[in-house]
């Protein structure tokens, strides 16, 4: 019989390698997904216990503003109102995004449109270095530099949302910048050429053509940055003051979901209400992270449709 014909009707070594490779990679991804599911399950089971085992009203949890799980109120109910932390988390997240976005977009335009050479040689490494600085160090600097500055300029203790915003601004700047750079780079060259050929100045080209075309990408970057800010714990915890109070202004101590979670988790007993309530905060963080991701996807889809 024809040996080639014979070989073709049997499984070749390549086919076996392929099957094995496919399996290996599938196993890797499955493992990761399993880990994520395990964490999800783990956080959800503890976080939901607050509502099912300890019978806390979900609405109270989201809307009340006293966070004293260990202390009962006048009716004998534990006080687990997470509103101050929710407001604090959203506050620092949005404010830092608002401050960071102009800087990030400016830096990205500088790197792609104004001076790609300087951008590549100086700004790019600078941005990457900012990513690498550990959050402990950011917190340390925030505590020893930013907080005193705020205290001297605005009065008060210096701790609060403003300090958190400054620290987070530096921390999310690299994320937003590098994603904006990618978005700007993906705008086809002929858009720019067309605008310049029509007599537009460089800035007109950038503001009317390039930025507009890159908008979905930039938005994705901003949301990514916000997701990062929302989940950041150590650095924010060191400068925000950790007071479970509804923030009155930007310079009085406030708290975020992560800061309360991080500082309280070691002091509570597994399975107790105090502990479960903290896991509810973690669950909230997870859901928010999911929401941010869905938002990014949605923006991406919108961008594609255009």
């Amino acid at each position: 019989m024809d040996p080639i014909k014979d070989a073709m009707t049997h499984k070749s070594r390549s086919a076996k390698i392929e099957a094995r490779g496919h399996l290996i990679s599938l196993a890797c991804i499955s493992l990761i997904v399993a880990v994520v599911l395990a964490i999800f399950f783990f956080v959800a089971s503890r976080g939901l216990a607050t509502f099912f085992t300890n019978k806390i009203n979900l609405w109270d949890f989201l809307s009340k503003s006293t966070w004293e799980p260990a202390v009962k109120d006048a009716h004998g109910n534990p006080q687990v109102g997470a509103l101050p932390m929710i407001v604090g988390s959203f506050g620092v997240t949005f404010l830092s995004a608002v401050v960071a976005t102009p800087f990030a977009v400016g830096a990205a335009i500088f790197m792609t449109e104004i001076s790609p050479n300087l951008g590549k040689k100086i700004l790019q490494p600078v941005i990457e270095l900012l990513v690498g600085i550990p959050s402990v160090v950011y917190g340390f600097i925030g505590l020893s530099v930013i907080v005193p500055i705020i205290r001297t300029v605005f009065g008060g203790t210096g701790f609060g949302i403003l300090a958190g915003t400054f620290v987070l601004f530096v921390m999310i700047l690299p994320t937003v910048t590098s994603m904006t750079v990618d978005a700007l780079k993906s705008v086809p060259r002929h858009y720019r050429e067309a605008s310049l050929a029509l007599g537009g100045t460089r800035w007109q080209t950038i503001s009317r053509v390039v930025l507009r075309a890159a908008m979905p990408g930039i938005l994705t970057g901003v949301v990514f940055g916000m997701a990062r800010a929302f989940g950041e714990a150590l650095a924010v915890q060191m400068v925000i003051g950790n007071a479970a109070l509804l923030p009155k202004d930007l310079i009085s101590p406030a708290s975020t979901l992560t800061s309360v979670l991080t500082s309280g988790i070691g002091n509570t007993v597994m399975g107790s209400l105090d502990n479960n309530a903290l896991w509810s905060l973690a669950l909230l963080l997870l859901l928010m992270s999911l929401a941010f991701n869905l938002l990014i996807r949605w923006i991406g889809k919108k961008g594609e449709m255009k």
């Binding site: 080639i4 070989a7 070749s12 086919a15 392929e18």
Partner: protein, 269 residues
């Protein structure tokens, strides 16, 4: 441009007694999702001959070519039906080992795609993976295939140079050498010269003429002069269908179908 009927077709019948076929296809259809890109093509490909597939862009000729060694398998959402007979087996069926089959039906692509490896490794990479470890055999293989691809004289002193450092035409010949190092039966070429300058093109054409002693070549080309110069048979594709198949000479002098006539005489395309 006018519309031509897809039913108006002429496929020359080659007598199996007089011609030996490398591949024959029967009612091959290619779908991308719900879209049928190739509508039931049946063609014979004679052994040790060059068959050219010509036609306008989007006529389905490249898609059809890619289904001959099942490269479309890797495109998500694509599906090929019909028979592709090779050595008496329908290679479009599930029980064929597609990797083994591709060793015998090789392919050269439109854009040169050498690996980011040295010239030597570009050629020996696949044979080594298939178990050939003997240095002298590999050396010999490199020399022979580079000679066949008319590249040996230019690179023999620099075999450790990266394949990507070669010029476009040289890269494409390296890809041809890489394909023939596998000693395939059939070589599928998807517009191998379209990205190249005229001088490189003519070198590659010369290479093909020499290769046809040992290989069956099926080439997709946009360039009608090229088809006329090098091929023995020509199939004209129009709108996902093979409209006319005949000896090249006849296609270019006395086409039987109006669409072919209009295309080869430059009225559309």
């Amino acid at each position: 441009m006018q519309n031509y009927s897809l039913d108006d077709r002429y496929i020359k019948d080659l007598d199996p007694a007089k011609h030996e076929f490398a591949i024959t296809t029967n009612d091959v259809k290619v779908f991308y999702g719900d879209n049928e890109a190739v509508h039931g093509v049946s063609l014979p490909f004679e052994r040790y001959k060059i068959t050219a597939l010509i036609g306008a862009s989007g006529s389905g000729k490249s898609t059809f070519l890619r289904s001959l060694n099942r490269m479309n398998d890797n495109i998500e959402g694509s599906r090929v039906t019909g028979e592709i007979m090779y050595r008496g087996l329908d290679i479009n069926s599930n029980n064929i080992d597609v990797y083994e089959m591709r060793k015998h039906i090789g392919m050269v692509f439109q854009r040169p795609n050498p690996f980011a490896k040295s010239i030597y490794d570009n050629i020996t990479f696949a044979p080594k993976r298939f178990g050939e470890k003997r240095k002298e055999v590999l050396d010999e293989m490199v020399e022979t295939s580079l000679k066949q691809a008319a590249l040996w004289d230019q690179v023999k002193d620099n075999l450790n140079q990266s394949g990507l450092a070669l010029s476009g035409g040289q890269q494409q010949r390296l890809c041809i050498a890489r394909a023939i190092a596998m000693k395939p039966d059939v070589l599928l070429m998807d517009e191998p010269a379209s990205a190249l300058d005229p001088i490189s093109t003519s070198t590659i054409e010369d290479t093909m003429m020499q290769l046809k002693d040992k290989y069956t070549i099926i080439i997709v080309t946009h360039n009608m002069q090229q088809a006329a110069r090098i091929s023995d048979y020509t199939a004209f594709f129009y709108s996902g269908q093979a409209i006319e198949f005949d000896e090249t000479r006849k296609i270019f002098t006395r086409p039987k179908i109006k669409a072919t006539d209009d295309y080869v005489s430059g009225h559309f395309g």
